[in-house]
Subunit: 362 residues, 2 copies
């Protein structure tokens, strides 16, 4: 069964992760000659119309795809979600105030740790008791909380929130690993952030969506580079932006629009996730790790309850050109990330291999 | 004289700016297939050996090129120099302590503004009185200062510090626009930072050099992403790094090593700067703006004292494929940036045009 003649790589990386082939081709060309300017995208001035058009299109595409209203601003900022873990409370939470946080996994835990530097954190629910294999339900968000923060999709643990909590408290969400993959009402959020390196583009930039009325309420002095208001005033151009990373985001957002937007990609994402989960459920050798109703459509986490078979399956994946299938170093097992740009064919190859493996070893 | 048949673009951009042609070619190829992995550099996992080797080489090359001793750590961090404007005092300056700053231009002024959020700032000298057209001399750095901060090269105003101040106070320098261009004793500094988009690589990453003994002395709680110690512990991999920007840095540093390192490129930089300044000095129609002894070898700033001729010269530059020659929007006039990767031929083309222009219009 082990193949060595690999022609296609199936990239199940959790992020940085697969992007559309067209994006790679366009980005590669732009490094030699960007828009027939005779210049590489890497050497253009960021305050030229050459780059302003890139940034404008990226912002307009994000607004259009997410159907954002005029109260919401779109920013592209340096760094990753880890930067937002502290930038959010720095901008929104005074020292004597309390923010409510949901503790659903590794990234939420990190966000909580950073928020505690700036104010009080009320962890209103946690799934730590079962190693974050489910999403807590039936919690109450205190109406006095300055904001409620949660992670929409837990990349490492493979769980996902499938509904937006009902509350009058401003919602703040880390959507790094499922943004643009499923149709939700983004306007319900006061702040959304997402590292780009999964569904948006290349590593090194954050997409940040902010409802303006949430800003300007903290008393601490903010460094300019950390102040969302200053970035809004400067249209994400307070300093030299990560030009190439923003360009790759623009290309990826353009691709998503051409594919029919979020609702169209969601249908394909559903097909991919259903195919993989149904296969897992039908083959006893594989065991999905998380509560059925909380399964992530982006990161499918599973194990084989035999160390020997686990190693064998990993080797067969590798031999068949499947990369990034190993689980996160903190949880082990397997993880297949099914982001927007992953072709259905890659999931089919994986499930074919699983069925074949189960028939031989199961 | 106006040519329209442009075959070569001469890129005098101040940053993002020209990079070596080989770097563009290698980066372009890596976006399609990185190191024969079958994967794009944009989709590789950052915790794979594929990326670790890139980061390791970038760090080792920086250490080698700058001849750094073992007390100095090399980091590649998200953001630009503007991020370091506040990250430096956040890590080094307690509220009741004082740091000494030199006020030599736009970027130093911004660094001072951000430092004031965290402690006391003693501006020990300034050249604001003459629009930052010179570097102050004969100032005293108070021995009680926590550190002394200055900008080695003023990108916008076109001045450069040609000697390292003698002091026992720890030196902190923003070297964004002249790092790796001239041989200096980098080990004399306790902290060096530089946005990559001039002499190091692509926008979206900072090179930060830290002498470890300067850390761990502030009492405030630091967000993890802002704490240099945590980045050192994690080898610049606390979170997903700006993978592609680091890769372009690695390629550019490799190129510089192949060219013979800093001392070799310095010789070429001297030839380029002398050619342009000598031409300016010999043609009365052009007027260099800064004090002769403080002239920058990286950013040559000059004016034409006639609005009509200024427009004509700008148009002729454009017609001859010269981009980025317009002065910064805050100072006007012209600015030719002569970073490491700018070929001598580009400076020759510019000086040829200047001589021709002067003979016709002077």
């Amino acid at each position: 069964m082990i193949k060595t003649d690999i022609t296609v790589v199936h990239n199940f990386n959790s992020g940085p992760s697969v992007l559309p082939k067209e994006v790679f081709e366009q980005a590669s060309n732009a490094i030699i000659d960007f828009n027939n300017s005779g210049l590489s995208i890497l050497e253009i001035g960021h305050r030229t119309s050459l780059f302003q058009e890139v940034l404008d299109e990226a912002i307009a595409s994000a607004k259009e795809l997410m159907r954002l209203d005029d109260e919401h601003e779109v920013l592209f900022l340096h760094g990753g979600a880890s930067t937002q873990f502290f930038q959010v409370p720095m901008n929104l939470l005074n020292e004597n105030e309390t923010a409510a946080y949901l503790d659903c996994g590794t990234w939420g835990t990190k966000a909580i740790k950073e928020a505690k530097i700036f104010g009080n954190v009320d962890v209103i629910a946690s799934s730590k008791d079962k190693n974050y294999t489910y999403i807590p339900k039936n919690y109450t968000i205190p109406s006095t909380a300055k904001y409620f923060h949660y992670t929409t999709n837990n990349t490492i643990e493979g769980t996902q929130m499938h509904a937006i909590p009902e509350t009058n408290v401003p919602l703040v969400a880390d959507m790094s690993s499922d943004i643009l993959s499923t149709t939700i009402d983004f306007n319900k959020f006061s702040l959304i952030y997402a590292g780009a390196q999964k569904n948006i583009g290349a590593a090194g930039v954050n997409l940040v969506i902010i409802k303006k009325d949430i800003l300007g309420k903290v008393t601490r002095k903010l460094p300019s580079m950390m102040d969302y208001r200053i970035h809004i005033e400067n249209g994400s151009m307070l300093n030299t932006p990560p030009v190439f990373a923003v360009y790759v985001c623009m290309l990826t957002l353009r691709w998503l629009k051409q594919r029919g937007g979020i609702s169209a990609i969601e249908k394909i994402n559903d097909v991919k996730a259903n195919l993989l989960y149904n296969t897992l459920d039908s083959l006893p050798v594989f065991r999905p790790k998380v509560a059925k109703e909380d399964r992530s459509k982006m990161n499918v986490v599973f194990v084989i309850d035999s160390e020997v078979l686990e190693k064998e399956f990993l080797a067969e994946c590798k031999a068949n050109g499947m990369v990034g299938i190993k689980g996160h170093r903190t949880v082990g097992g397997f993880r297949a990330s099914l982001y927007n740009a992953l072709p259905l064919e890659s999931v089919q190859s994986l499930t074919d291999l699983m069925k074949d493996f189960a028939s031989r070893k199961g």
